[in-house]
Structure formats: structure tokens, C-alpha cells
Symmetry: C2
Subunit: 336 residues, 2 copies
Amino acid sequence: MVTITDIAKACGVSRAAVSKALNGAPDIAPKTAERIREQAKALGYLPNATARALKVGRSYNIGILFSDPTGGGISHEYFSQILESVKSEAERLGYDITFISKDIGAMSMDYYEHAKYRNCDGAVIASADYHDPAIVRLVTSEIPTVTLDYTFDSCTSILSDNVRGMETLVRYVYENGHRKLAFIHGEMTSVTQKRLASFKKTCASLGITVPQEYIRPAVFHDPRSSGLATRALLELADRPTCIFYPDDLSFLGGMSELERHGISIPKDMSVVGYDGIPLSQVLRPRLTTYRQGAEQMGREAARLLIEQIEHPDTWLPQNITVEGALLKGDTVRSID
Amino acid sequence: MVTITDIAKACGVSRAAVSKALNGAPDIAPKTAERIREQAKALGYLPNATARALKVGRSYNIGILFSDPTGGGISHEYFSQILESVKSEAERLGYDITFISKDIGAMSMDYYEHAKYRNCDGAVIASADYHDPAIVRLVTSEIPTVTLDYTFDSCTSILSDNVRGMETLVRYVYENGHRKLAFIHGEMTSVTQKRLASFKKTCASLGITVPQEYIRPAVFHDPRSSGLATRALLELADRPTCIFYPDDLSFLGGMSELERHGISIPKDMSVVGYDGIPLSQVLRPRLTTYRQGAEQMGREAARLLIEQIEHPDTWLPQNITVEGALLKGDTVRSID
DNA sequence: TTGTATGCGTTATCAT
DNA sequence: ATGATAACGCATACAA
């Protein structure tokens, strides 16, 4: 491994001079700096992030925390997209990203401890359970954090516009003549609460009454549970004309259940999803859904986190809402 | 930040004693060690991975490299699954993972340089293009590496059993009476070469002749290109009875194209996919496909990489093939 | 059994 | 403009 000491020797200068030249310090003679840089390149010098981090107290590394109790958090397309965009934006700004988890090897640590252990300059958090004390500890620590889809006081958050998204979907369905809307929701997270509240509120403002039995619980990203909820809805004496699913993937469970009953989409039943993942627009019929701006959310999360890291003095917590867009698709039929 | 120096002071011992006690060194009095550990916990001490890494030359951090020229590498379910399993196995063994990429911030580096910069103890590589000189440089460097779905000399690799997988699919289709098999393949990677060769070989051994026009190029994970390939197949005077798709996701493109032509699956056309991602079994009809053992591949990759890192002396490169399994699904019709 | 001294690679402070 | 030196937090060879 070639270090600044090697370069210093080769150039006949001190290590300090090399460090300055390589970091573009002003108090170094231009031609000397040039000579040093050439020599560094010639020797194949690479800065050592570890040594630098130890010295300057900044690792240029940000932690990313995906916590999903149902396992495989990363493998949901919505999360993957966020991860990918956080990653590329962070890299663009000179930061690497490392996953943060509990219990690394033999040592048992919580998220905060893990982040400290790795000297993360900050952390992006995407969690299904923001009540987890370990998450709260990290968020309320001195480590700069940005949360996704949940707001803590004094912590920047990036929010999907769940309220408007759901309102947009309900209105679209309403405009197509539907008055009997059923809603299958995910676990009772804050996201679900927002969507459910928006669903009810929008229905109310449109003069639609939603019977209690039209609201069914299921599990996010779990087609089976949404399939069961669908079956329950189909067993009702007075069936809905349109079913809202917790997310696009969950719709697939409903789809097969409907098919099993010989019910055609959208001829006999209209449906809408949520998320707008690429998959939803590849299906036939294309799913009517609401696209969350996952890439933009990830990008903003990385950008704001790094801004906070680099300018802690002028920083104020922000709650940014990223707008999505209605994807009309073909699964909502216009009825009279 | 509380360091071993603080603990040393609080306990009235030297920093060395603290270090030894915390690392369970044998040459320290049990009761002293106990006292030190208690004090460490009381003070909320956390080891500093950066300082330790600088000292011992090991970062307990492994790099993971996903390179997919078509962008968003992580967001394909197959890759996500591998990432998730590499991550959890590595963490179980005491390692964190960091993404490695080109061009981090202002500095332009290749993969090798990035890995060195971060002092990665090793790297897991999943690439679509193993001819990329930057990848070759990393693989042939002194950094321990494990490759997925590609074999380099003197480098451990984890391979999906593409040859057997394709053979299994062909035989299954054959047993269901099909003799006119079309094959839509992805980009000409080594994976594609193996699958294509296995397809042709198995067909030959079963006495099936595959006309040139039954072999169509497309792009992995790109439903549109597979849709176009499907259309081309449908325009043939002598249509195939079964179409092989490059992967499960690509099948969706074919599905909508078939539907557009009023062709029902599997009544009028049989199809098979590849990958066996969860999605494929949620679709109706369930896709006939071959499941690659993504979780197992990731786990093995992490396990073998860390074994190599920790026992470089007794280590030999291995090429491990992870077996998959036929998912029969419902998209291959039995014909006479 | 415990402590002292040293160095990992870098940067920052302070002389020169 | 340049260099000597110390320090970041830790682990280890060696001395006591």
C-alpha cells in the first residue's frame, strides 16, 4: 500500500506538504503541488478513508436502515427503488452507504450503537415501525437522520403524499361512476392511517357512505392476505363495485381471487392499487394506481441528509412531501 | 465519545489493560476484566471500528458490487434477494456491507480503488458484464472476491445451475407433449450462453429440431423487448406451441402481447419463465418456471468470502453451484 | 498480571 | 512556502 509517506520520500518533501498538495491547500507552491500530484498518480496512491476518518472525525459514510418486521425489506420494489436512489445520490455527493442493523456478529448493538460503531455521518431510515425504541433512540440521537414516510419532531422527513394520493384515487373512481368503494388496508402504520383517513374523508365529502364491512385489514405486500380480504368482500350480500388494495403487489392476490370467482377486471369489478411500481404497468390490464415518487424520495433524503451533515449550523428540520401521480391504467370501468 | 482512555482512567488501569479486557485476552485477571467491562458498559463505551481498522488492517466490512448497465440493478427481485441474503449472512458473521461503485463524489475511481479506499476486506460481485476491465481488475487484485453467476480462474464463484435448470424446463415441456419450442433469450452474457446451449443440447437429445426463427433475442428484465419478440414469433407461419422467456418479468411482456392477440395461456400457447421470483407464483395462472436459489446463493457467497478473508492460508477457490427447482405452475398445457 | 511504548495513515497546528 | 510534530482511538510487542 502506497501512503503519503511514500510520496513524500519520492518527492523529497514532508508528509504535510503532500497532504496539502493532495487536498488543494492554498499555501503550497503550485509547481510543487503539481509535482506531488504527478508522483502520487505515478505511484498509484489511494487515500485511506479509514485513516482520514479517524483524523477528521468524518467518515463520508452514511448508514441506511431498512427495517421490515415481515423480513426481506429490501426486496420490495418500492424499497429497492428508494435504496437505489439514495445510493446513487449519496455517491454523487461523495458518500458511501452502509447498512445499519441490529446485532452485528457476536456483539449485540442497537441501531444507534451500530451507526456510532461505524462512524456514520448520518442515517436514512425507512421503517415499518417507527415506535421501535431502537429507532427512536437513533432518531433522537446526535446523529443526523432523515426519516421516510414518518415525521419526528426536529428531524427531517421525506413523505409520500398519501393523503392527496388516496384522495386522487377516490375522486377518479368517483368520476367513473362508482359509489360502492371497498378498502383493503395494510398494517396499522402511520401510512395506513393517513390513507384510510383520506379515503374516508374524501368519500364523506363526495357524499359516499362506506359501510363498515367494506373496510378490510390485510398485510402490505402480501397477496395472500389481500386475496382473503377480497374473498370476504365477495361474500357480502351487497358487493362493492370497486376495491382499493393496499399496494400493487397485494392486488395480485385479489386478482387471482377474483378470477377464481369468474369475475373479470374491470368488467365485473373495478380495482385500484397503490405504489405505481413498474410491474403494475406491465400487467394486463394495466393497473389503475398512484405512483409514489420513490426515486425522488430517495434522492431528496440523501440530499437533505448530506446538507445537514455538512451545514449543521444553518440547518433546520424540514418535512418534504414528494408528489406522486395518478396512473390511470385500465382497471377502473366507467359505470353509469 | 467515550474511549478506552476514559475507561482506563475510571478504573485506574492502563489503556492496554482495558483493550485486553474488552477483547477477552487471557493475560488479564478475571476480576479486573470484569470490573473493566462493567465500567465500560456503565460509561456507554462503544468500540470505534475506524480506529480498530486502522490498527489491525481489517475493516470487517465487505464491499458489494452490483453492476447492471440497464440501470437500477438492485431493483430486480432476483438481485434484491441476493443482496438481502448476502447482507444478513455477513452481518451474522460480524461484517457490514458497503456498496462499491465507480466515481464516488469528485474522485474518479474504479471498483478496485473504491474497495481499497474503504479498506474492504473482500467483495461480492454480481455483474451483468464480467468483461468490464474494472471488474477484471478487482477480481484479479489481492482483494478476496466472490463472483456470482460467472467463473474467473482462482476466484470463488457461486453459480446458478443454468444448464440443469434449462434442461429441466425443456424436459418438462417435452413430457407435456410439446415439440415446437421457441426461445427468447437475454443479452449474450455467459448466463445466456449457458441457457441457450443447454436448451439446444437438450432439444437435440430429445430429437427436437429448433428452427432458427424460433430463437429470438431480447433484453433481460425488459417486458417490452420480450413482447416484441413474442409478436415476431406469432407472425410466423408455423407457430411454436411453447415459448421460453428470459426471465419471469420478461414473461409479463409476452403475456400482454399474447392477450392482445386473443391467445389464452396455456390453452392456446404454453409459456415458461426463469428465476422463480415470488411474483411468478402470485400471478394467475401461476408461471411455470425454474427457481434459482437466490437466498442460498447470497448466503454462500458471504460465507465463502468471509472464510477466505479469515483463513487465507487454507483457502482454495471453489466453484459452487446452487441447485434450483422446477416450479410447475400452470402455464404449460399438456398436449397430445 | 499489568503497564509502557509505538505505530497504523492522515490532517492540523505551529514553527521556520 | 514548507516542515516538524502531535493527535485521532486502538491493539500489540515487550518490559516490568
